[in-house]
């Protein structure tokens, strides 16, 4: 006998945040909004110098200029190992070239990164950045909508706040892009997620409606009414309704709606945005026995057609196998597994299905019965089986702390030094937080590495970016240098000494 729905909700919250003192915030919140995230000298002199130089280089007209970052240890983010004394050349917001023996074009402005490390910006593989200001303050939390009649039709793009503190703080931490997913509330379908940048301008969305997000494990079972079997029926029914709707209707805007997918090869996704399928023509007839709203069914048409990725959160090995089996029934589905804590136990099957995975790096506790086989070796073992693996933060500080991705990647190297465990090489580890998440959502050609043609999201670090002691010193997004100060840095400066001076603290800034 399962607990009451309220208890199960509480339980799920607890799964996501064992921090006892946070638990109450969910369980007993008067507002009752279900936040998935409840859970959150010398170098300076150098920095100042480089910052000045870089500012003059990269100021407004400089956007079109050619810039060469020289002398640093350069890591491309594509899985290759770092290159000492490498060069990165960028122009018009894109990478021109990066690596060893890269010629500095005549007239290029040089940025000396000697002693520093240069990498692509970090790509947060699964996050809710920009959707929350304060998790427990429900009015600022746009992750899920328990009282909405909609599910799959929900599109996070309009809710992204480019001025969210989390965007500023994580930008300062070297995160330049994020895959942002909504959370489920009353359906297994959470809605459509976006890929965003963490720049200081007001245009955050890189690609809207990049994917649909669905829960098919314990959470999905709960949303579907109490069992995994019910979740699978609900899923199939939803795709049937989408198929019926798609058959009888055509989009009234947003070209390419009915175009056939090119292939099942997930690495070959078209780059254009999926149109807003809520705009499907109103003339489509629907039978009476439908569960989904018209908007929700319409939103699943591109999923069914393979024009929009389907990110599926499952952890347990048997659940993963069931998800992979969906491709037999719906051959055009383009799947990405999210979570997959037990993936290592069936890595050959995932590899054979050519489905990428976005995993939590450091899950090593049997925190639920769907994660009994949890180990920090999961990521490396799946990689060794040939699965493309990216790191994400699944229901674990994903709204505020995606900057911790590099620490997690560093730990993926560390675990390789423990006898009997499996780890990643340094280059592979960096790739899990740069190119791998970009490729998982079909954007590897645009972001996530320093390969030619990619957007110039570049970070200059004080040292090895996977080390605890390093920090981002210069952050470029689309070639534009980003401000790194924020609420937190200003508090730090105000309280350098705790005591007041001639005036109260409120006058110090």
């Amino acid at each position: 006998m399962k607990g009451s729905s309220a208890n199960r909700k509480t339980l799920q919250a607890r799964k996501k945040s064992v921090r006892a003192e946070l638990v109450e915030a969910l369980s007993f919140s008067a507002v009752g909004k279900r936040s998935k995230a409840l859970r959150q000298a010398q170098g300076e002199r150098w920095f100042a110098g480089l910052l000045l130089a870089a500012t003059s280089l990269l100021a407004a007209p400089a956007f079109a200029q050619t810039v060469a970052i020289t002398g640093g240890t350069v890591a491309l983010g594509d899985g290759s190992e770092p290159i000492e004394g490498g060069t990165v050349v960028l122009r018009d917001g894109r990478i021109v070239a990066a690596g060893r023996n890269v010629a500095v074009p005549a007239g290029a402005q040089r940025v000396d990164a000697t002693g520093k490390w240069v990498t692509p910006g970090i790509v947060a593989g699964f996050s809710r950045v920009g959707l929350i200001e304060v998790d427990a303050v429900s009015s600022t939390n746009d992750v899920s909508a328990g009282n909405s009649p909609f599910s799959a039709a929900i599109d996070v793009a309009p809710a992204i706040n480019p001025r969210a503190l989390a965007i500023q703080v994580n930008r300062a931490g070297g995160v330049t892009r994020a895959i942002v997913a909504p959370g489920t509330a009353k359906s297994i379908f959470a809605g459509q997620g976006a890929v965003i940048d963490l720049g200081s301008d007001m245009e955050a969305v890189t690609r809207a409606r990049a994917f649909q997000f669905v829960e098919l494990g314990e959470t999905g079972a709960d949303e579907a009414g109490g069992s995994r079997a019910a979740a699978h029926v609900l899923f199939r029914n939803a795709l049937r309704e989408a198929r019926d709707l798609g058959r009888f209707s055509s989009p009234i805007s947003g070209g390419g709606g009915a175009r056939e997918p090119r292939a099942n090869d997930q690495r070959d996704l078209p780059l254009e945005e999926v149109p807003d399928n809520r705009l499907l023509s109103a003339g489509a007839n629907r039978p009476d026995d439908v569960l989904l709203t018209r908007f929700d069914a319409a939103a699943l048409v591109p999923v069914l057609q393979g024009r929009q990725l389907l990110l599926v959160h499952v952890e347990r090995a048997s659940d993963i196998i069931q998800v992979l089996a969906l491709k037999k029934e719906f051959p055009r589905l383009r799947l990405v597994l999210v979570g997959a804590t037990e993936g290592w136990t069936i890595a050959d099957r995932i590899a054979a299905a050519r489905v990428p995975v976005i995993a939590n790096a450091l899950n090593d506790l049997p925190s639920t019965f769907e994660q009994l086989a949890a180990t920090q070796s999961n990521v490396a073992r799946m990689r060794a089986a040939g699965i493309p693996v990216a790191l994400g933060m699944i229901n674990d500080d994903e709204a505020r702390q995606v900057r911790l991705a590099r620490q997690q990647a560093g730990n993926m190297v560390a675990v390789g030094r423990v006898p009997g465990a499996s780890g990643l090489s340094w280059g592979e580890a960096l790739a899990t937080i740069t190119s791998a998440p970009a490729e998982a959502v079909g954007m590897g050609g645009e972001i996530g590495s320093l390969r030619p043609g990619r957007r110039a999201d570049v970070v200059i670090w004080s040292g090895d970016p996977l080390e605890n002691s390093s920090a981002a010193e210069i952050v470029l997004i689309d070639g534009v240098q980003q401000p790194l100060d924020n609420h937190q840095t200003k508090l730090r400066d105000r309280y350098r000494t705790a005591t007041e001076g001639d005036l109260p603290k409120s006058y110090e800034r």
């Binding site: 006892a20 919140s29 996977l466």
Partner: protein
């Protein structure tokens, strides 16, 4: 409990002495002072520790860089463990007993075992199913009668991860923060046991978990009960302390002078213990202004806060913390998950330390407890970037002697000194590097984890027969 045990011994000795008197001394007249039979009182230690150290070989770690946990550093150091204690610590010329097992620590680091002052392992164990939610007695804001130890499930796999990945040798398990008075916390040795008592740190004092701020007022205000506001929080706490003072007067008088035994109140027993200085207050509190209120309240009622936990705004009142001698137990970089955490900054720990106050790194998390060394490393680096230059070995006090002292076990563990418990970690690299993990962990001189020996890796009952049993986690 060191104090209470001593008290019990004194009472026992007095009883023997009194008995002796009646045997050998001539009877005295009624007018002479009556022989004082101490009044019957309640046990301060009804669930005594049955922890015992496991056998350990005499071991000498040589050639390692040693952080002693009190701020000292020895390059090319030698640490000798024997009979459960640190027998010697010093430079390369330190005498090594004949027959000692020698471990070459060159290129490696040795530290005292990590101490987590804020854990809920056992009380919120894995798997985190509803049946396991035992960390909060959410039935009233004053629940000082509950003891976290009675919720501890010794089979929580989290204990093993804290040992093998985190090098944690002692931890303090606290009730949650739903209540103003959450109950007693217990200090455990991170050695698996069949019972909680087998894990219980012998002689460690109890703590009282208190909480200010959002949680209690939300939990009870949401039920239309007091407290429903921050002022309600303080009012209920003060009223409760006033009752505790009255209770203490009655019991002190009874234990001194006899007479009719006062009624027992288990919650008040705990509060009386605090007022008597036997039980330490561990106080969940985020905001600077609230910590100041709590410190004034503590003065009003004559007790002391050992540490503020979470203390996200400790940096704003680091001077007050120093002046009051109160530690701050903190995360490295958590912020923003709730309103009272909105002003969290990455330099909190070094700023508190730099002001001369006592800084502690804590986890409050079954994952975080596995990487407290990394949390300290991040905080240290963030401090250095703003010009606060703290050495690595001094920063280890945040994981060593500072939490040990705040738990009242600073004389026993938390640093590597001759005669102290041999709670030791040999790290396979610099312990502030992200690439480093424990290679071996000793608790009281017994080798409880060896990364090279699968037989020295604990597997809980819960994990037996499950996928991944015995795997490196």
């Amino acid at each position: 409990m060191a104090l209470t045990r001593r008290a019990a011994l004194v009472l026992a000795a007095a009883a023997i002495a009194a008995a002796g008197c009646t045997k050998s001394d001539p009877p005295r007249s009624a007018s002479a002072q009556a022989p004082r039979t101490p009044p019957k009182t309640y046990s301060r230690d009804p669930f005594p520790s049955t922890y015992h150290r496991y056998p350990g070989a005499v071991t000498a770690i040589t050639g390692a860089t040693v952080f002693d946990g009190e701020g000292g550093r020895i390059d090319n150091g030698v640490v000798v463990l024997a009979d459960g204690v640190v027998q010697a610590i010093g430079g390369p010329d330190t005498a090594i007993p004949a027959g000692a097992t020698r471990i070459d620590g060159s290129g490696k680091w040795v530290t005292p075992g990590v101490i987590d002052i804020h854990s809920h392992l056992g009380d919120y164990p894995s798997p985190s199913v509803e049946a396991h939610q035992d960390g909060n007695e959410v039935t009233g804001p004053v629940r000082a009668e509950v003891w976290a130890e009675h919720s501890v499930w010794p089979q929580d796999p989290g204990f093993t991860r804290a040992l093998t990945n985190g090098g944690v040798t002692s931890l303090h398990v606290l009730p949650g923060s739903a209540n103003l008075f959450g109950g007693r916390g217990v200090t455990l040795k991170n050695v698996p046991g069949r019972t909680m008592q087998q894990m219980k740190f012998p002689g460690a004092p109890y703590s009282l978990k208190m909480a200010c701020g959002e949680n209690p007022k939300r939990v009870y205000g949401g039920r239309n009960q007091m407290p429903g506001s921050r002022m309600g929080n303080i009012a209920v706490m003060r009223q409760t302390w006033a009752r505790a003072q009255e209770y203490k007067r009655k019991w002190d008088n009874y234990e001194r002078n006899g007479g009719e035994m006062p009624g027992r109140d288990l919650a008040m027993d705990t509060l009386r213990g605090v007022l008597a200085g036997e039980i330490l207050v561990q106080n969940h509190c985020y905001r600077a202004d609230e910590m100041a209120n709590i410190m004034d309240m503590a003065k009003e009622f004559g007790y002391k806060v050992a540490a503020f936990h979470h203390a996200v705004e400790a940096y704003k009142i680091a001077d007050l913390l120093k002046a009051n001698g109160v530690c701050a137990a903190m995360w490295a970089d958590w912020y923003g998950f709730k309103m009272e955490a909105y002003d969290g900054i990455q330099e909190n720990i070094p700023l508190v330390h730099n002001a001369g106050a006592c800084a502690i790194v804590h986890s409050d998390d079954p994952n975080g407890i596995q990487r407290l060394n990394q949390e300290a490393a991040k905080a240290l680096a963030n401090g250095r970037r703003m010009g606060i230059n703290i050495s690595d070995e001094v920063a280890w006090t945040w994981l060593g002697i500072n939490p040990a002292r705040a738990l009242g076990i600073g004389e026993r563990t938390g640093s590597l000194r001759a005669g102290k418990m041999a709670d030791v970690v040999l790290w396979n690299g610099h312990p502030f590097s992200v690439y480093t993990r424990p290679e071996r962990v000793w608790v009281d001189g017994a080798l409880m984890y060896d990364s090279n020996d699968p037989k020295r890796r604990p597997v809980t009952d819960f994990e037996l027969g499950q996928p991944g049993e015995g795997d490196v986690k």
